[in-house]
Symmetry: C2
Subunit: 553 residues, 2 copies
């Protein structure tokens, strides 16, 4: 593991937290040696996104000249290039005013002047007037990857590691969101906000879920919500004097109707005015009305809904758990990848266990360790006393040592590979028939009803977040967990490495097939490096883009 | 007439031009002793509208206190009150920044905080916290009328005049747009522009047609268009250097499609976000796509389309003709009111003569006087030499004496009542079977095709603007014109006044009935003042609001 430390400890950790003793009891994310709360990170990212533009570039680009040109409008604070239907550059200016300066200088597409919708966004196209003459001094651009490597390549990489724990961190490092990808996500939100702000100047569009909870995987959708929270800011002013002045506003019989109308119009605006906004679908009659669209300039599939406190609290809770201890994220990423490979999860809706349920199962498992690795929700709540749960979550970040009070003897020692094996064993033997999973109490609790898998919604009591899972799916999960626990126990790393067989986590990420486990095991024993390759090829998991969808969010 | 001079010469003339020798050869409108072009007036009005807000007031209002409150946000340059679903106040600030200051202090409706669409416009509601205590010192508000008087009342007023010419000016004065009504119209455009500007910051929404051509009648619809003309302003910049930067924009296969999409979304925004925007109808497949809606805060029925150069040129041409000589507008208003009373025009589409066609017939008649009262379009064009017609129209306003060159011996002497009688005689005897009306040449020209009434479109040659008129409608027009000419010839004012009979123009504004003219004439002879009242009542024209629609645009 030592050899890879530099790679995954600092290089690509988005809301960088460091493993080990130093930060394990702190709810803070450490970025540039300053501790930041979830809200602070969000605010900083949103501000950064507002100072950012996206430029489509020619394939033959002189980076220096682009930057020289941009410098005439202001200081470029950071930038990177990426591939998405050609080369694009994300440019962060130091000042917002630089964007205005740039926008004033930029032209409307002239070839078909009258057939464009003249909506001026922060999306530009940079072209060379005389491409031939500029080829000469070119240096190849560094392109930041925006998708993770195929499972096939991952498995090969894992085989080279020195321990199962290292393998898990390598997987985390390959799959988690990069700094660049997070910037792109916030930019997508910021560009949508430009649409909302046109009519609701105090509104913001914020990402939630995988983009911000530290459990996001490269390629996952961007969930964003429109927040009107600031709109009522001035409502209390002007109470003095014998009169009141109010805005005339459209009144609607319900908040839901207002939400639907606003989302509908913003959806139409995106569809008709938004450059690169395609496949806009309004799903307004859902419990949580939303607009789905693909945002081609950033390459994301986006879901826009309206401010939803549970979604935000859930993101913040996961953020806290993700920041508490680096083993948390490594274990979650590992379990999710494992579940996807074995068909236990699926990006399509159905009877599969969702990634959210799976993550909650990991959290529950970590609460159940002795001593526990993360606190229960009730423990967190207790801390906040009479405060609401949301206040509590904020509170955590203002009290560095708060968690050390919750967990008297923090569990710092259990190795990651141990946790992986124990996870499989724990759920391989869990009495799903009788018990439910309760993260508030951190206890197995009698099931209140007969759903095969019952996981209490942490924020809305008496709701089962895994109601969709049926008995066969649950049984498949149990069987796979047992099989995996058995494989890990039988591990003989040295022998496997000599035989050039997939070992450790790599062995767990190869489908076990329809044969029973012992036969499979025997088959695995005899194969050499050539056969590994053909086995891997047969997985048909070698297409990165299909992988992106396949391994779920 | 002398007694009424003050009233209608200055008081309510919107783009004040003065009758008589002083300005007859000038294309300028005189407002506050400065001469202004059509474009200058438009710009000034639009700017004024941007500094304007609309406030819904309680019925018991202390005007002083409202103004005192508003003064804390900036200097109120002008204001007036009017009735429209309660009392409203239009407030013009000296500075635009005062509106921002006001907006910052104004609250969101609090009673149903979550069920409003939080779009912040320039429409406010002013309420007294303790209405009872403030009744005391109240002085009644002056309310500016926003609709014209019913025909019944008009006829009574006309009977008191001292000449037919005076009657025509009284009619003009009662029906034409007031200064206040024009401000409200520009405000309606400016409020719609706030919607368009949200996405297209360089766009403007401008009124055209009756609101600006000096021929608008109180109660007429507000025609407005969305103008993107300024959007391409910066397109030519940034041509230096070896590269080009362009906006990424939605591209559409046709300009028409772009227009339809933009109007559709703005229609939805008005419908869903716009306070008091009701009955929004999208008519996107029309030759000129438009969105119809009623704007309740100002009380207008609005038609929003996209920039249409012919509509603008047509407005400007009428503006010039209207400013040339005050007899022009008085005659047009008289003929239109007469035509409406006799069922020759109708606000609904059909085979009726349109107000625009009727106006063109009056203009043609005035071109045909000897010497002419207004120049032909070709004469105007000749002046501009190689310039386009649009350039010419602008040119006129930059050359004070230009029209005196066109009309060598201007016709200054013909009295208005003479023109009225001559109009009826001219079209009562016009050879519609053979001839068409050509305003470019100012000549009767052989009809190019067999439509009963053929009036050449002044801006698009080979188009007949009165193609919709059928033979029976035309014959009715001819019959009414002849009947009216005959009535005017037989006028015996003194005798009629003694008998308290409607006389002069008043007699022309009473339907002639289905009896033939001589019988009708005899009937009219014998009736006294009592019978006049019951006759007037029978007209059922005493409802101002139905009148508003009925007498056309």
């Amino acid at each position: 593991m030592q050899g890879n430390d530099h790679d995954f400890r600092f290089g690509r950790w988005p809301l960088c937290m460091q493993r080990g003793k130093k930060f394990h009891v702190s709810g803070y994310a450490e970025v540039s040696t300053r501790k930041k709360t979830f809200a602070e990170v969000q605010t900083e990212r949103l501000d950064q996104a507002e100072r950012t533009v996206l430029i489509k570039c020619p394939s033959k680009l002189n980076e220096k000249k682009l930057l020289q040109y941009l410098a005439s409008h202001g200081n470029v604070k950071s930038h990177f290039f990426f591939e998405n239907r050609g080369i694009s550059a994300l440019i962060e200016f130091s000042e917002k005013s630089s964007i205005t300066s740039l926008q004033d200088a930029v032209g409307i597409p002239s070839a078909s002047e009258h057939h464009v919708v003249p909506f001026k966004s922060r999306l530009f196209t940079f072209t060379l007037k005389n491409p031939v003459s500029q080829h000469v001094e070119e240096t190849p651009l560094h392109l930041s990857p925006q998708s993770h490597i195929p499972v096939k390549d991952l498995i090969e990489k894992l085989c080279l590691a020195d321990s199962i724990s290292s393998q898990m961190y390598i997987l985390l490092n390959e799959y988690q969101l990069t700094e660049e990808n997070i910037r792109l996500r916030f930019l997508a939100c910021s560009l949508v906000r430009d649409f909302a702000r046109a009519y609701f100047p105090d509104s913001t569009v914020k990402p939630f879920g995988s983009s911000v909870n530290t459990f996001g995987k490269l390629g996952s959708d961007v969930d964003m919500f429109l927040d009107f929270r600031d709109t009522g800011r001035h409502a209390t002013k002007m109470k003095k004097g014998p009169f009141e002045m109010e805005y005339q506003m459209k009144r609607l019989p319900s908040e839901r109707l207002a939400t639907q109308r606003i989302l509908s119009v913003i959806g139409d605006c995106l569809d008709n005015f938004g450059p690169g906004c395609a496949n806009v679908q309004k799903i307004l009659n859902a419990r949580c009305p939303l607009v789905k669209f693909s945002h081609q300039p950033t390459g994301f599939q986006c879901d826009l809904s309206v401010s939803n406190s549970i979604a935000i609290r859930s993101s913040e809770l996961l953020y806290i758990y993700g920041c508490l201890d680096s083993r948390v994220r490594a274990l979650v990423f590992t379990i999710r990848c494992w579940a996807r490979v074995h068909g236990l999860t699926n990006s399509a809706p159905g009877t599969w266990i969702t990634n959210f349920s799976l993550t909650m199962m990991v959290m529950f498992f970590l609460q159940r360790r002795s001593p526990p690795i993360i606190p229960t929700l009730d423990q967190l709540k207790e801390l906040a006393g009479k405060h609401s749960c949301l206040c509590l979550l904020q509170l955590i970040f203002y009290c560095t040592f708060v968690l050390s009070k919750v967990i008297n003897k923090p569990n710092l020692k259990e190795r990651l590979y141990v946790l992986l094996g124990e996870f499989f064993e724990y759920f391989g033997n869990f009495d799903f028939r009788k018990n439910s999973i309760n993260l508030r109490k951190g206890k197995e609790v009698n099931k209140p009803e007969s759903s095969p898998l019952y996981i209490w919604n942490p924020f809305e009591q008496d709701l089962n977040i895994s109601k969709n899972v049926n008995q066969p799916q649950l049984e498949k999960f149990i069987a796979m967990a047992r099989e995996s626990a058995w494989i890990l126990q039988k591990e003989d790393k040295t022998q496997q490495m000599i035989n050039k067989e997939p070992w450790g986590l790599a062995a767990l990420l190869i489908p076990f097939g329809k044969n029973n486990s012992s036969k499979m095991k025997n088959r695995m024993k005899g194969i050499g490096s050539e056969t590994i390759r053909s086995l891997l090829d047969s997985l048909k998991l070698n297409n990165a883009s299909s992988q992106q969808k396949a391994v779920g969010k």
